[in-house]
């Protein structure tokens, strides 16, 4: 299988290298998104992720297929966490492996940029005295 698509409670960043490794790949590029402590100088206590899972998995699968069509890739990984995540926790992992490094870098960047635009996952920032659904309002 050349793509691994998952929505899980907790992400295991250790597995991703083995999952992307391939005898025809000389390059592996991985992006991990994690919880930052401050947003606009306000301290974030935690993030809460919610998803429309059946649709999100479909959109992630389409995203992997698009990357596999656009670039010559041997493996693609797209994983997202759900539930409450604390500072430094991993919330998303995307990665690709290819014969040469340009392809995996470009594909990896495309995967995270497009995931943020199309996959039905919602993030709520929990501050000390309020909580905000990210991007909901202009």
């Amino acid at each position: 299988m050349n793509k691994i698509i998952e929505i899980v409670q907790d992400l295991d960043t250790n597995k991703v290298y083995q999952e992307l490794s391939h005898p025809s790949s000389g390059g592996i590029c991985v992006f991990v998104g994690s919880v930052r402590e401050f947003t606009n100088n306000e301290q974030v206590m935690a993030l809460e992720f919610e998803t429309y899972e059946t649709m999100a998995l479909k959109e992630m699968d389409k995203l992997a297929d698009t990357a596999l069509e656009k670039w010559k890739l041997n493996k693609v990984v797209i994983k997202h966490a759900v539930g409450k995540k604390e500072v430094q926790d991993a919330v998303v992992i995307v990665g690709a492996s290819s014969a040469h490094r340009s392809e995996c870098f470009e594909a990896c960047r495309f995967l995270i940029d497009t995931l943020k635009e199309t996959v039905p996952i919602w993030k709520k920032e929990l501050f000390k005295n309020k909580s905000v659904w990210v991007s909901a309002h202009p």
Binding site: G33, F49, E50, T51, Y52, T54, M55, A56, K58, H80, V91, V92, I112, L115, K116, E117, T118, V119, P120, I121, W122, K123, K124, W133, V134, S135, A136, H137, P138
Partner: protein, 86 residues
């Protein structure tokens, strides 16, 4: 099966907060929306908060649906506020 003028809807993220639940069997009566565009209009009329969002999308059977898509009985219809994964 749905009764006439009635529609089962799924809500996520801020949309869930606006209507106060994640699933709602909404009664529209004679104004029952036939298309995605009509559904958006009906929602914004009933819950003005939807008009304040950055964007509002509708998914039919877990696929993004454009405004002209017609809604059929038993479709799974979901209200998709601005996504913010990653």
């Amino acid at each position: 099966m749905h009764k006439l003028g009635q529609m089962d809807l799924l809500f996520f993220g801020i949309a869930k907060d606006i209507v106060g639940t994640s699933q709602l069997d909404m009664f529209f009566g004679e104004d029952s929306p036939n298309s995605v565009a009509e559904l958006k209009q009906a929602l914004k009329k009933r819950y003005p908060e939807f008009s304040k969002l950055t964007s509002l999308a509708i998914a039919v059977n877990s696929e993004y649906a454009s405004d002209d898509v017609q809604l059929k009985a038993n479709d799974e219809v979901a209200i998709i506020p601005p996504v913010s994964g990653g």
